[in-house]
């Protein structure tokens, strides 16, 4: 049964998968089976039981396996010894078995065929419906996909696109903004050119803000960095704009810049920058100007690159010719810079006030602003000094780099004026005392003045060497104020009440003149703030200020007063008439020169050289007014002029014929020891000695502040007795010195005002030791004349022949008195002759006469002392002679008291002294020489031998004491 089941299950399992043809194959098989069985069935008749038995007899092995090889199984079953029968038996058995099986199978098949058929039908039906369902499904699917395609994708795409579009428009907007941002750069540049810094910064900042909102764009980062650059560039531009302020302040411009900086919040930085710019502007302007001039003068030959030079170096390349214009330009340019600074300050002042006002209204956030303001103000205040320091430094360096000593005076004064102006500006600018400039001023002035002075000294020497010591005719009331060079002093003189009333008028005017420029110098910054330059004005002012060529029209009055002295051509004749009248008159009457005529004709005795010295002194004094810092040096140089004049007059006229040497002053009693010291001091300090061998070696040193002694003009003859040994020249020379001294005395208070107080000692020393010594020069000068003009020697000789031991009283004086008097008269005539040419001042004639009489008196004593023997009568004769001399002398010359009259009389009368008194007298009268005293003692005849001896030894003792 298992087999059927198997089969059934086999068929049943195949029903689904096997198509209908299976039935056919099965039936084929069946037919085959049938065929087989047919053959078998025919042979053996079978009943159902038998059949069952046969089937049951089938070995189990056959059911075991589907792939069971039945043939092999049966073969293997065969024994070794094949037994045909058995085999045939087996075969028959097998064949029956097969028949039984086949029959059973066939029966089973037949039995189940209808079921099979119906089942197959059902399967077929199922198959058909399945196929139908598949088709429906297919079409459904097809339709479904169609629906999907045609509906969902389109609408969704639409939606997506819409969304995209919106995003893109957004992007476009941003891109537009970015594009604008990029374009703003251009605009910024434009604004920069328009100098709208404020707007530019505003814009830039806005842009930056905008850029930061677009930070997510890649391109933006670049842009924002570019914007940062631009901002920096703006700052740079702003800086440049700020620097422009230095060269020319412009309110609008500055305001813009300031506002821009405030916007940047960099007000302080701006101030710092501004100061830096000012500093560099000062340097650059100065450098450029100097460079320009240097290159200009270096011209084509200059292959040297001046650009690289240092400023100081460059300054040294400025030539003398270009110095002044260069200085003016430099000052002008620096003035502009300072003016800009000044304006900047003013702007801040004004602006701050405005700002403070507006600020007080809305007080918030003002703390920082006030702080800024204070910072700015402090900075500006402090910077002022710095700026001026810089300016000063530049000018100073420039000024000191060139040696100005070769300048002409007015050129130099122009330079000084410029520098002074600069100093005044500095004072006004920041209240600076400008030590640097003052110092350069002083240094240059000193250098200039020393050179100038040396030239003047040389010139003075030349004048002295050419001087013929002729009187220069001037008005009798001449004083230095009439000289052009001293005109400037009139105001002072008026204030000192030193000039007559009628001359004061001019003083007032000049006062007015002076006050005007004073007011003008007050405020450079207010005067030249908007236009012009304080250094421009000079050109027109120059003529007016040219003080050294006089003061223009206002001196007409003086020109007249001076040209009054032209008239005396006729007047001079009058003088001469008067003089001759006098010479006639005083032989007859007692000579009493009328004070009128004397005063009238007695003009000062001035030489041409004196004029020169005075002119130079006048110029020096004028220089002081400009060169205040070197006032002392100038005055000291002024003193040298006088020193040199004094020294020259003495050396020309005071030390001739008699070997009066400065080395040995004691040989000449006429020279005052103080004068001698003065002369020696001058000689040591001022006079160079070309003959000394070491002169050449120290030449440089010498020539800088010393001057060789002048040689007298060969025209002057001092040894001719007929001209009284050049008395006229001597008088002119000496009296001109006196005049000079007098003028200096007149100037003393003025100089006192000028000289620094710590140097006052110098001045008073100069006056006491030099100026006041001038009159002492007269004595040695005139003593040369008075000693040689009278024939003292012959008188002395003649006195030697007179006998004094006479025994009777004589009534007639001796002849030597007449001789002496004759000589005196002749001398007086000569004096009168000279007086015609050169009016001799009374002081001079008095001095000469005094010296003559003194010499005469000494001659008398000397003559009386030469007697070996003398009687009382002889002594009386001496007195008679002397009396005669005195009487006659009084007719020749008015001299009260007679100098050294006592000297003679005492000597004569000592003879009469008793022995007891004589000793005391000898002891007391040391003014007589030893010889004279001895002669007296020996000639006294009433003296005992013993007491005489005692007196002699006493005199000798005195002599010894005198020597030691």
């Amino acid at each position: 049964m298992a087999f059927t089941q198997k089969l059934k299950s086999l068929i049943g399992g195949r029903q689904d998968s096997l198509p209908l043809p299976v039935e056919e194959s099965v039936s084929d098989i069946l037919t085959v089976g049938a065929g087989v069985t047919k053959s078998k069935v025919e042979k053996k008749p079978v009943n159902p039981h038998e059949e069952q038995e046969i089937i049951d007899g089938i070995e189990d092995k056959y059911y075991n396996n589907e792939s069971f090889d039945t043939s092999l199984f049966e073969l293997q079953k065969l024994p070794e010894q094949l037994d045909l029968e058995k085999i045939t038996e087996d075969c028959v058995k097998l064949r029956t078995q097969l028949q039984a099986v086949s029959k059973r199978v066939s029966e089973l098949i037949l039995q189940n065929h209808s079921a099979y058929a119906t089942e197959l039908q059902r399967v077929m039906d199922l198959q058909r419906t399945l196929r139908e369902a598949g088709a429906v499904c297919q079409s459904g699917r097809r339709q479904l996909s169609h629906a999907r395609e045609s509906f969902t994708i389109a609408s969704l795409g639409l939606l997506a696109n819409y969304r995209k579009r919106q995003q893109l428009t957004g992007l476009l907007k941003s891109l537009r903004t970015i594009k604008t941002l990029q374009r703003t750069d251009l605009r910024l540049r434009e604004m920069m050119e328009e100098e709208d810094y404020c707007g530019a910064i505003q814009l830039c900042l806005e842009c930056q803000k905008a850029a930061s909102t677009f930070r997510h764009y890649k391109c933006i980062s670049e842009l924002s960095s570019k914007l940062q650059d631009t901002l920096e560039m703006i700052e740079e531009q702003l800086d440049v704009a700020l620097s422009k302020t230095c060269s020319g302040f412009d309110v609008q411009h500055y305001q813009k810049v300031q506002r821009a900086y405030r916007q940047l919040g960099k007000t302080q930085t701006a101030m710092d920058q501004l100061h830096m710019h000012f500093a560099s502007a000062i340097h650059n302007t100065a450098f450029t100007i100097i460079l320009g001039y240097v290159e200009l003068t270096a011209g084509s030959g200059g292959a040297v690159n001046f650009q690289k030079r240092q400023y100081t170096d460059l300054c040294k390349n400025i030539t003398i010719e270009t110095f002044t214009p260069c200085l003016v330009d430099l000052c002008k340019a620096l003035w502009e810079v300072m003016k800009s600074y000044y304006k900047t300050m003013k702007w801040h002042e004004v602006h701050d006030q405005e700002y403070a006002q507006t600020e007080s209204e809305h007080t918030g956030a003002s703390v920082e602003a006030t702080f800024n303001r204070r910072y700015v103000n402090q900075k500006l205040e402090y910077g002022r000094g710095r700026i001026w320091q810089d300016v000063q430094q530049k000018v100073k360096m420039f000024v000191l780099a060139t040696n100005l000593s070769g300048f002409k005076l007015d050129e130099f004064i122009y330079v000084l004026d410029i520098i002074n102006r600069m100093i005044e500006i500095g004072e006004e600018f920041c209240g600076s005392k400008s030590e640097g400039l003052q110092d350069s001023l002083k240094q240059q002035s000193l250098n200039y003045f020393k050179t100038h002075h040396q030239m003047r000294l040389d010139e003075l020497r030349m004048f002295l060497e050419n001087e013929a010591w002729e009187m220069c005719p001037v008005r009798s009331n001449f004083n230095i104020l009439q000289l052009m060079e001293f005109r400037f002093m009139r105001k002072w003189a008026t204030s000192q009440h030193l000039i007559p009333e009628n001359e004061t008028r001019k003083g007032g005017e000049s006062y007015d003149d002076n006050s005007a420029p004073d007011g003008e110098t007050k405020s450079y910054f207010s005067l030249y703030l908007e236009e012009g330059n304080p250094f421009d004005k000079q050109t027109e002012e120059e003529e007016k200020e040219d003080v050294f060529s006089g003061m223009g029209d206002n001196e007409d009055g003086y020109a007249d007063s001076d040209s009054d002295s032209d008239i005396p051509d006729e007047l001079k004749k009058d003088y001469i008439d008067e003089i001759t009248g006098e010479t006639h008159s005083y032989k007859h009457s007692k000579r009493r020169p009328s004070s009128r005529s004397k005063g009238h004709r007695q003009g000062p005795l001035i030489t041409n050289t004196t004029f020169n010295v005075l002119r130079v002194m006048g110029k020096y004094l004028q220089m002081i007014s400009i060169l205040k810092p070197i006032a002392f040096d100038v005055i000291s140089c002024m003193s040298q002029l006088f020193d040199y004049y004094l020294y020259t007059v003495y050396s020309f006229f005071g030390q001739d014929s008699v070997s009066v040497d400065l080395i040995n002053p004691q040989s000449d009693r006429s020279i005052n020891t103080r004068l001698f010291t003065t002369l020696q001091r001058i000689r040591e300090n001022l006079v160079a000695h070309p003959n000394t061998p070491n002169h050449i070696a120290t030449e440089k040193q010498d020539t800088t502040d010393k001057i060789t002694a002048p040689k007298m003009s060969p025209l002057v003859k001092l040894s001719d007795a007929s001209t009284l040994f050049g008395l006229a020249e001597r008088v002119v020379a000496t009296e001109s010195l006196m005049f000079l001294a007098k003028q200096l005395e007149y100037l003393q208070p003025y100089l006192e005002e000028l000289i620094p107080s710590n140097k006052k000692a110098f001045l008073s020393q100069f006056y006491t030791q030099t100026v006041n010594m001038a009159c002492e020069v007269r004595k040695p000068v005139y003593s040369v004349v008075s000693r040689q003009s009278i024939i003292y020697e012959s008188v002395l000789q003649q006195m030697g022949t007179v006998r004094w031991d006479i025994k009777e009283i004589m009534s007639q004086h001796n002849a030597y008195i007449d001789l002496l008097l004759k000589s005196f008269t002749e001398f007086q005539k000569r004096l009168a002759d000279i007086d015609k040419r050169v009016p001799l001042p009374k002081a001079v004639t008095n001095l000469i006469w005094e010296q003559c009489v003194r010499h005469a008196n000494r001659t008398f004593v000397e003559g009386y002392a030469s007697t070996k023997k003398c009687s009382n009568e002889g002594r009386a004769l001496m007195q008679l002679d002397f009396q005669q001399f005195l009487t006659k002398l009084d007719q020749i010359v008015e001299l009260r008291p007679i100098p050294e009259r006592e000297f003679v009389e005492a000597y004569i009368k000592a003879y009469y002294l008793p022995e007891s008194q004589l000793e005391g007298w000898v002891h007391d009268h040391k003014e007589y020489s030893n010889r004279q005293l001895l002669a007296l003692v020996t000639s006294v005849d009433h003296l005992g031998r013993k007491s005489r001896q005692k007196l002699i030894s006493m005199v000798e003792e005195m002599e010894k004491a005198r020597r030691t």
């Binding site: 000593s405 070769g406 002409k408 007015d410 050179t451 040396q454 030239m455 040389d458 010139e459 030349m462 004048f463 050419n466 001087e467 013929a468 002729e470 009187m471 220069c472 005719p473 001037v474 052009m484 003529e543 060529s549 006089g550 003061m551 223009g552 029209d553 001196e555 020109a559 001076d562 040209s563 032209d566 005396p568 051509d569 001079k572 030489t607 041409n608 004029f611 020169n612 050449i696 003009s713 060969p714 025209l715």
Partner: protein, 213 residues
Amino acid sequence: MSESYEFLFKFLVIGSAGAGKSCILHQFIENKFKQDSNHTIGVEFGSKVVNVGGKAVKLQIWDTAGQERFRSVTRSYYRGAAGALLVYDITSRETYNALTNWLTDARTLASPNIVIVLVGNKKDLEAEREVTFMEASRFAQENELMFLETSALTGENVEETFLKCARSILTKIESGELDPERMGSGIQYGDALRRMHRQEKLQPRSARPDCAC
């Protein structure tokens, strides 16, 4: 003072008062016209180094007073002048007429070889002219003077006058007609030359210590 020169010439400026002597000198030295000129008192002085034919020459110029009363003072400055400017005013015949006197003075008192230039000043005042160029130039010819008309106001011919005079002196020195060494020639050797002379003199003296060393 650092100026060096080869020669020093002593010059005189003479002529009647008001002829413009000081103005000429001022113009020559300062290159400026002296506006407010007073009469010169005595003698004034000016010096300038000029270039004459390549040689630096220092002119030492004595500007004398023209007024008669200063005659005695000014005369003493004539001595030893190498050159002189004899100045008159072309607008004043009086000053022209005085020329002979001035000339005599100069010839007798100064060095005999003195080179004199006749100068007709105030050329700018053509309208007021009283002395013609021809007349003055004849006078100059007769007296062997050089002649120029100048204007101290404009500066015309001022420098030329001095240069002409200096050049003439220099020519005379070169030709040997003038001997600078002679006393009163009014000519001196300048610093450079003097130093040379001095050095020559010093040579033996300075040589000695060298040998000793």
